[in-house]
Amino acid sequence: MKEDEVPQDDANMLQGKFKKLYYATDGSERYKEVGSVGWEPENVVLEQAWEDIRENVEAARQKVLSGEASPILYYMEKNLMTPEIISGYIGLPAFIMKLHLKPFFYKMLGAKTLEKYAYTFRISINELTDINKIK
């Protein structure tokens, strides 16, 4: 890639915080460093990855509101987490953590476990348990 071919397609992915560093060749075909604000193909696939995430979060929100799933599902998706990641925080195996996604088991959780979930998602217990907050 030549230095004048380094793409500058700004889709505000970097929020103006910095330019990405590329290595490109100058007029005499030697390498130099060139900054870039973004490249269209990367912007497209990155945006699509976030779209998938937003769809998952919305689906989870609907499930929580209709009582099919516990609020933990919503906050798990919102924080891009998986049962494996969460099980690291709450200190329980992932298959048990998955049970907590179901309202039946979720209702049996004590304050101590809820506290761990709240810590994981960086919210208060009140925010975690009150589904009016996500309406």
């Binding site: 290595y23 390498y31 891009l80």
Partner: protein
Amino acid sequence: MKIDFPHKQSAHCENGVVSNLLRFNGYDFDEPMVFGIGSGIFFTYIPFIKMNGIPVTSYRILPGAIFKRFSKRIGMKVESHTYSNTAKAMSELDAMIDKGIPVGMLTSVYYLTYLPDAYRFHFNAHNIVVYGKEGSNYLVSDPVMETTTTIAYEDLVRARFAKGVAEPKGKMYYPTQLPKDFNIDDAIWRGIKRAGFDMTEIPIPILATKGMRYIANRMQRWPERLGDRKAIQYLGNVVRMQEEIGTGGAGFRFIYAAFLDKASRIVNNNELYDLSKEMTAAGDRWRDFAYYAGRVCKSRKSDVMSFAELGDIIKECADREDKIFRRLHQMAKENI
């Protein structure tokens, strides 16, 4: 306490931290040299390990390996610690800063609040250097950023003790023995030799150039096997791993070409410069792949340029790289 730290931006975090820590100690190794001597270039496609339901693709060797190989080749020793106790991990960090020693550490990108939101995924092997503390904020040199930045105590604790795949466990490190008795020519050739071996000689079909042909063949069947939506997700992930922050363009191919360019002048070998140009050409083909793949993703259908043709571009890259690295391997063996 604030250490005078010579921050310089790099494309990739691991190269950058090594390069910056060495610059602090008076050694000038820029990013391509670290990447090349550390034999960082690679390719893997692992269909049976999935992240969020999408197979893992990588254009480089495992996190930490560049550091290890580079240190070995220039005779640097690094001390590293992991912690089970967060308070202890933080107070030992403070103690190091008070002693005037900047510390490299592993963090999760998700909790690094100063990074752009769009890039904050759960990736647990991001390297940064902490070089000071002001009040309850730590001063951070993050190699992917143009300037230094700060992070709050609580966020840094989260980042150092993130859970999930390959937990950082508060890992921090600093050089205890600086480079000595090294021969730069020798280090360069050894780095090239290992890269040549890794890229062409490993008899496992999902690794290196074999892995490129493997993903090309798989990719050509994605639309029929997975359906449009999933095929686009898989393809998008390959492009993301290739072009996201940290690769310097074309999945590290341009960083490696820059290394060959610089190395040709240091060891005085014009053929390395010719191979640098060929590496650039291979990288340009990877960029073509990303460009067309991006258009396929945007249209959300598999007919703008079919997956079959995309696979053919990757096969062409595999042929080019196979030729380059076989020659490099040969040259390195003659020169060590």
